[in-house]
């Protein structure tokens, strides 16, 4: 047998490289005037609506949304390059992250004309932010076991249940909620699920913070108590929720956010070494090389996705390796000589490192745990 796990690597065209350069100049200017302060984990923790709108002004939000719906009609790969650059720099992109990454593409794929007209222009100009309502207290890795229920009423649906780990729900306008609209059929557990576009300011919606172990608040639990959703805010087809949700996942798993979350810290390690505050350590080269390898694979997957190809196995590989590496870099950065007790020259590294060390537990969980993803890879290899 021969195995083919990932698409062949690709070379970036001139247009994309020019776009990359343009984003770098924008970032450099932002750092210079302190409108951009690099952080780790910036796609989850860095909520900054003003920054999101400054990206919209450059044409870098909702890039793949067609012009008729307020977007830029750019390609998937152009968006990929822009997000890569922003993440590598640790730019605060979390406000628009979910809407830009998966809500826009899902609306384009499954949404009605009314939904597209209503939501896409706001996504593209940074006025409408979204959360994800998939996980529940009793439905984590086993997403098909969601209990949130949708009951058909006149003119729409009433939704009840609770969703957890909804990043930014307290500051977002909407979320996509996955709910059961038909009783469980034990032979077809993935049937009978549907997606609803819920206005988080609707009556019956209660958003409560879940504070992370480092005191930060981005997660929420969202309680839905007979929340009315009109028929025109059902996403796609009733009963097709599972297929719709899984089509979002390839975008979610192979993206640059799965290996660049701690890159600003690796850069700070390099800067400290250049300044002579740290001795050159071969681990620095090792992790940099690993990030570059992941970058090559991620680009080739993006290229494949843009041609509508199936990338399930390789996307899972990027996420398993990438999120593990992000955490390993946090360990590296926080175990250098002087990590806690060294002088002030290491303060920036120390701040980034401490932050990363406390966030790392989440890296290998969010968006599908690495254990579930190893199962996906094993299936791709024909083992299950």
């Amino acid at each position: 047998m021969e195995i083919h796990l990932a698409p062949p690597i690709v070379q970036e065209g001139q247009q994309l490289t020019e776009l990359r350069q343009k984003v770098r100049e924008f970032i450099r200017a932002g750092i210079a005037d302190a409108t951009l302060v690099p952080t780790i984990n910036s796609w989850l923790g860095g909520w900054n609506e003003e920054f999101s709108r400054s990206l919209a002004a450059e044409g870098w939000l909702g890039m793949t949304i067609p012009v008729e719906f307020g977007g830029r009609g750019s390609t998937f790969l152009q968006r990929f390059v822009v997000t890569q650059e922003l993440l590598a720099a640790g730019a605060p992109v979390s406000a628009h992250w979910v809407a830009d990454r998966q809500i826009g593409p899902s609306l384009l794929k499954f949404g009605t004309d009314y939904q597209k007209q209503k939501l896409l222009p706001g996504i593209a100009n940074g006025d409408i932010f979204f959360g994800i309502g998939m996980s529940e207290p009793d439905a984590g890795s086993d997403l098909a076991s969601v209990r949130t229920k949708g009951v058909q009423v006149e003119g729409g649906w009433k939704i009840s249940g609770s969703k957890v780990w909804t990043s930014g729900a307290h500051a977002s306008n909407y979320f996509f909620a996955l709910a059961r609209t038909a009783p469980v059929d034990t032979d077809h557990r993935h049937a009978g699920l549907s997606q609803f576009i819920i206005d988080l300011h609707s009556p019956g919606v209660d958003v409560r913070p879940i504070v992370s172990l480092n005191g930060h608040h981005h997660f929420n639990e969202v309680f839905l108590d007979d929340v009315f959703v009109p028929d025109d805010m059902v996403l796609g087809t009733i009963g097709e929720g599972w297929n719709q949700v899984t089509s979002e996942l390839a975008y979610e798993r192979s993206g640059p956010e799965r290996f660049l979350s701690t890159l600003p810290m690796l850069n700070e390690l390099l800067l400290a070494t250049r300044r002579g505050d740290l001795a050159p350590d071969p681990e620095l080269g090792r992790y940099f090389a690993r990030i570059m390898g992941l970058h090559q694979v991620s680009v080739s997957i993006a290229d494949s996705l843009s041609r509508g190809e199936e990338v399930g196995t390789s996307a899972s590989i990027v996420k398993v390796l990438g999120t593990t590496t992000e955490g390993d870099i946090a360990e590296f950065a926080t175990t250098v000589p002087g990590a806690a007790e060294g002088d002030a020259s290491l303060d920036t590294l120390r701040a980034l490192g401490d932050e990363a060390l406390l966030e790392r537990a989440g890296f290998t969980l969010r968006g599908g745990t690495n254990e579930v993803l190893r199962g996906v890879i094993a299936r791709g290899l024909g083992l299950r």
Partner: protein, 342 residues
């Protein structure tokens, strides 16, 4: 974007068939590997023993890498890397005419000696580089003129000590960039060979896990075993990608030696660390049978572990990459993902 490695499908098929046929027909594995001259003659007949010759088929490193991978996937006992992308290229730099002999190459120290020279005792000629003052000389010399002390690496591949009286050699002057590129080519060739063998190793682990039955089911049905193979497969993917990126850089010929060194360093680091995980996990999956000479697994794992230390060890490449990063003035990301065509 353009797809890498538009390695012609027919060519790839031909490479696979040649070595696949050889492997099916060859005798038992040997602890000490001997150059297979019959297989070599087949490669010469097919015109692929000197694939990248400038006046040849117009093949680039993309085709050469395809050949090296195919050979490594079957543990073929022939010096394809040494003869073509190392010695062959060196001889071109000194305008030495091509011939039908089998060549290897090495760098001699100022006393005219070199250690662990690949295949030296079994090839016809050695293409040698040696320092003279601030410069370098190059010559292609019959092995019979050297004093050769046979040796083997951990995989049983010939790695011999050679020495010669430099005063007897008449060499061509070559710039030091030739020496630098030679080393990078050697390092990249080993990365490609490792990637090829690692791919075969992961395939063997899948085959074993789906056929070996314990506790009433194939062991691949156990999550613990799946996890070992999934992690090995992941390492294989980034080893392939970083190696292919370096091959592409060399084939495109636009990055210059600094750019090439960066790509090769990345490839060697990623592939070297990948080898550790893959070899460990795959042996674990195979259980005791994988530790025997009888089972073919070692024919692929041993060369990987040997190649990992040639043309620079893993730690040396990690260290070199770190030096390159520190010496640059660019941020880490801009250094690795350049926008100026480096």
């Amino acid at each position: 974007m353009s797809e890498f490695g538009a390695l012609d499908q027919d060519l790839q098929q031909m490479f696979g068939d040649v070595f696949g046929d050889w492997r099916e027909a060859r005798g038992p594995a040997a602890l000490e590997i001997e150059l297979d001259r019959a297989l070599w003659a087949t490669l010469v007949d097919l015109g692929i023993s000197r694939l990248t010759a400038v006046d040849g088929s117009g093949a680039t490193w993309i085709e050469a890498a395809g050949l090296l991978r195919a050979a490594a996937r079957t543990a073929a006992a022939v010096p394809v890397a040494e003869n073509d992308v190392l010695s062959g290229w060196l001889r071109e730099q000194a305008a030495i005419a091509d011939d039908d002999l089998i060549h290897s190459a090495c760098i001699l120290d100022p006393s005219g000696s070199a250690r662990a020279v690949p295949w030296a005792s079994q090839v016809d000629n050695l293409t040698v580089l040696w320092p003279v003052g601030d410069g370098w000389k190059l010559a292609d010399v019959p092995v019979s003129q050297f004093h050769v002390t046979p040796g083997r690496d951990l995989a049983g591949q010939p790695r011999d000590a050679v020495s010669i009286d430099l005063a007897t050699l008449d060499g061509a002057d070559v710039p030091s960039d030739v020496v630098r590129e030679y080393r990078l080519r050697g390092a990249l060739a080993r990365s490609v060979q490792m990637a090829g063998a690692l791919e075969r190793i992961v395939e063997l682990s899948v085959e074993h896990a789906t056929s070996r039955v314990q506790f009433g089911r194939p062991i691949g049905k156990f999550q613990a075993v799946q996890n070992l193979i999934a992690d090995a497969a992941g390492e294989l993917v980034i080893a392939n990608a970083s190696t292919d990126a370096a091959v592409l850089a060399l084939a495109a010929g636009e990055v210059g030696l600094d750019g090439l060194e960066l790509r090769v360093a990345i490839a060697r680091s990623v592939t070297g660390h990948a080898a550790a995980v893959i070899v460990r996990n795959v042996h674990q999956v195979h259980g005791a049978i994988g530790t025997t000479f009888e089972h073919q697994l070692h024919e692929f794992t041993k060369p990987v572990l040997a190649w990992r230390s040639e043309f620079g060890s893993l730690r040396e490449w990690d260290t070199r990459l770190t030096e390159l990063m520190v010496a640059s003035e660019l941020d880490l990301w801009a250094f690795g993902v350049p926008t100026d065509g480096r």
